[in-house]
């Protein structure tokens, strides 16, 4: 495998303070945030006359109907284009020139967009709803056949491309650690460090991981403040993407004799471990959001969809993941000050051995690794992987009480655990 070499930063240079693009939005505009976080292309549309509208209004300008988001075609035509050479806002000022387009969306409205490497009015464009570095939804108009995004600095400024970046995967023993590392290396990661807890225990994956270029395994115990502080002191300022894979999968009913001990063990790693990691690695990452070509870009938490919908047979486990999800909002808010994104990847039952008793479909390691890479490349904030997780999220969104009853009656995973 070819290994690209990335120039080291001149240590004499000042690390730039991360700036953010303008983040103020109306409350209605945050409907778009939800769609952009998940990578859906949905635009404001009238629930009465079905006319799309932009920017999002409080009522349809054609018939005064109520507005909701609706899936829209992504095509458009470039009407006009310019380059902001002297932006008013400091974030754009230091990134100028910045391309801006005026696009007629195929669904009807006109929109001002970030613009890919296109110049000529009349060009067909592919429009994407994505998150900018402030974590707010914006429209990007790029070439119709996808390509060339690798070379579009405006696009790259918004996504979390692993290329050239130094990555920490917190738990090498996670069932998807090997394919995830392989995928990151293939995507051009400069270095991947994997944390290994209980390093005195045998670790079957060591050979496969250490055979990859630029990959190393270091001792890391998320249950130990000292362990995290030691690693953060060593490499905390050199991590641009952190992928927290740590998990302790212990299914069990609340009334089972093992429940209190196991719930505590899960909490210790999944919830408190996240807190320790955030305290250890968060500040350096947030401060390096604009550190030249290798700026810190993303923090990824692999969490369980059962943190959102809680089956009683996974009582403690679901509670720990719910706690981690709640905590991740705080982590996200602090990382956001530096423009660093927090992406949550939710899965249902995986092919991890601890889900052995759960019926298929279960998420494979390859599928999970692919979803993480896809989410980083698109700059997403919420990724739901696998049919079960998607099904649960859809049920939850539609009727939270119904899913609670369905899970309580064991209709989803009856007797699995």
């Amino acid at each position: 495998m070819m290994v690209e070499h990335f120039p080291r930063k001149n240590p004499l240079l000042r690390t730039q303070t991360p700036l953010l693009p303008p983040a103020a939005r109306s409350r209605a505009a945050h409907l778009l945030t939800a769609a952009a976080c998940a990578g859906r292309f949905e635009l404001p549309c009238c629930t009465t006359c079905n006319a799309f509208a932009w920017p999002i209004p409080e009522a349809c300008p054609k018939c005064m109907g109520e507005i909701a988001l609706r899936k829209a075609p992504q095509g458009g035509e470039l009407l006009s284009a310019t380059v902001a050479e002297v932006p008013a806002d400091p974030y754009f000022r230091e990134r100028a020139p910045w391309r801006v387009g005026l696009v007629k969306l195929d669904c009807g409205p006109i929109a001002v967009t970030h613009l890919g490497p296109l110049k000529e009015p009349g060009a067909r464009v592919n429009v994407t709803l994505m998150l900018d570095r402030a974590g707010q939804a914006v429209l990007h108009a790029g070439p119709q056949k996808g390509g060339a995004m690798q070379d579009d600095p405006q696009w790259q400024d918004m996504v979390a491309n692993p290329r050239g970046r130094r990555i920490l995967i917190t738990d090498a023993r996670h069932f998807c650690a090997i394919p995830l590392t392989q995928a990151l290396v293939k995507a051009g990661a400069a270095e991947v460090t994997l944390g290994l807890h209980d390093s005195w225990k045998p670790f079957e994956g060591r050979g496969a991981l250490e055979s990859l270029p630029c990959v190393k395994i270091e001792s890391l115990d998320l249950g130990s403040d000292r362990s995290i502080q030691d690693m953060a002191a060593q490499i905390g300022g050199k991590i641009e993407i952190l992928i927290n894979t740590a998990d302790v999968l212990r299914p069990g009913w609340l009334m089972s004799p093992r429940a209190p001990v196991e719930a505590k063990a899960v909490m210790e790693i999944v919830a408190f471990g996240l807190m320790r990691l955030a305290r250890g690695f968060g500040p350096a990452m947030a401060s390096r959001g604009a550190d030249g070509a290798r700026s810190a870009v993303a923090w990824v938490n692999l969490l369980s969809v059962f943190g959102r919908a809680h089956p009683p047979e996974l009582a403690g486990y679901a509670a720990a993941h719910a706690a981690a999800l709640a905590l991740s909002h705080a982590v996200r808010a602090e990382l956001a000050t530096g423009g660093v994104r927090l992406m949550t990847v939710l899965t249902g039952p995986t092919e991890d051995e601890w889900f052995q008793a759960f019926p298929p479909p279960r998420v494979s390691a390859d599928a999970l690794a692919k979803a993480v890479l896809d989410g980083l490349m698109r700059g997403l904030e919420e990724v739901v992987v696998g049919d079960v997780a998607r099904d649960l999220m859809a049920r939850l969104e539609e009727n939270p009480k119904a899913i609670e009853r369905e899970l309580a009656q064991g209709r989803m995973y009856g007797g699995a655990a």
Binding site: S26, A29, L79, S80, V86, A88, Y91, V100, P121, L139
Partner: protein, 387 residues
């Protein structure tokens, strides 16, 4: 139904509070100076004005009503128009009908704004909900980027080149050099215009106005009132306004003037050849050119030839923005919409000094305002006649 004529409505007492690039004074201070200027010009106390019409962006948290108490006014007509460059003529239309109907006798019409080193950027951040949600986060270029997108499409559609627009910028500067209050006094050549730093192509440095602090003001009253006070005045012959015209045009290739210009000319009872001078809203030269075409000063698609064929200086064959306009005078926020009216009153009363257009009898003034999202929303125009 056609509008009733503006019977004996007049404008008088043109007042400009000298512009400064930045000011440590709030907008209310600039309003006060304008009120004092109007009172001095009219030979009245400012408390004698029974109408107060104010356009301002930077008055917050106040609006016009708070200033009545602060400055001791007791008006029976009160208007507040934070509408940008269309506010001058919109305010004039309302004031004209109020004095015509007897709802007020003397209305002080003022456009005033202050400006500090960070005011312009702050105003962009909060300019409108559409801008906040769907424009400012895209490169934060402010109006320069928004107008660049329009300019590129409009120039292509009309065959207008930068060389054609240079004429307006250069002539504006020539006019400004005969106006001591204009902030830009350095001569500008076509070469300098064309070689200027790109801001958001096709917008370059000399296409842009300089935000500043200042105020423009005039009085609206009935002719008999002006005569009783011994004031020189000009008559309001016609006026139009339109907001969010042609909402389905994909990009702004025309303004609302196109929709209402026939009414303007028929109400004024003249044809374009009878106009002695034109004051357009010149936030960019191409916007002035758009107004020439949309108001019917040239035929559709003829604007490029029109720009090439004429001299727009105060001594030229098409005197335009004779004070230097905003391009060379500075853009004092909402006062930019009053500037053309104030300059037209001066010209038609023969008080324009070194830049006086000889024998000026009729002036066409237009206003344009509020790039809420992708286009300017307000368009207005007024015809003024010497008494």
């Amino acid at each position: 139904m056609s509008a009733a004529p503006y019977t004996s409505v007049v404008l008088c007492c043109p007042v400009t509070v000298d512009y400064t690039r930045h000011s440590i004074r709030p907008a209310a201070w600039w309003v006060a100076r304008a009120l004092a200027g109007l009172a001095a010009a009219a030979g009245l106390s400012h408390r004698d004005f029974d109408g107060f019409s104010l356009a301002s962006f930077t008055l917050g948290p106040d609006s016009a009503i708070g200033l009545t108490q602060q400055f001791g006014l007791s008006p029976r007509f009160l208007d507040f128009l934070p509408l940008g460059g269309v506010a001058g003529i919109v305010g004039l239309r309302r004031a004209a009908r109020a004095v015509q109907a007897g709802d007020a006798d003397a209305i002080a019409c003022i456009g005033a704004d202050t400006n500090g080193p960070h005011w312009f950027r702050h105003s962009l951040e909060t300019f409108s909900r559409a801008s906040q949600d769907a424009v400012y986060p895209y490169g934060s270029g402010g109006p320069n980027v928004s107008f660049a997108l329009i300019a590129r499409a409009w120039m292509a559609a009309n065959g207008v080149r930068r060389e054609d627009l240079a004429r307006l910028a250069v002539d504006s500067r020539t006019n400004a050099r005969a106006n001591p209050n204009a902030l830009m006094q350095k001569a500008l050549t076509e070469e300098e215009y064309l070689a200027a730093r790109p801001i958001a192509p096709p917008i370059h440095l000399f296409d842009c106005v300089m935000p500043c602090a200042g105020a423009e003001a005039f009085l609206v009253m009935r002719e008999a009132t002006a005569q009783a006070l011994g004031l020189t005045f000009v008559r309001l012959a016609a006026a139009i306004e339109r907001h969010n015209a042609f909402p389905d045009d994909p990009v702004m290739l025309r303004g609302g003037w196109v929709q209402d210009r026939d009414q303007l000319w028929s109400m004024a009872g003249v044809t374009p050849g009878a106009v002695d001078l034109v004051q357009t809203y010149d936030d960019y030269p191409f916007i002035s050119a758009m107004q020439f075409q949309d108001l019917g000063l040239c035929g559709p698609g003829e604007v490029a030839d029109y720009l090439r064929a004429h001299d727009f200086t105060h001594s030229g064959d098409r005197p335009h923005n004779t004070s230097g306009g905003q391009l060379s005078g500075g853009q004092a926020g909402c006062a930019g919409g009053h500037l053309g009216l104030v300059e037209a009153i001066r010209q038609l009363t023969g008080t324009a000094g070194a830049r006086q257009v000889k024998g000026a009898k009729r002036a066409l003034v237009s206003g344009f305002g509020m790039i809420n999202f992708d286009r300017g929303l307000g368009s207005a125009a007024a015809m003024l006649e010497a008494a």
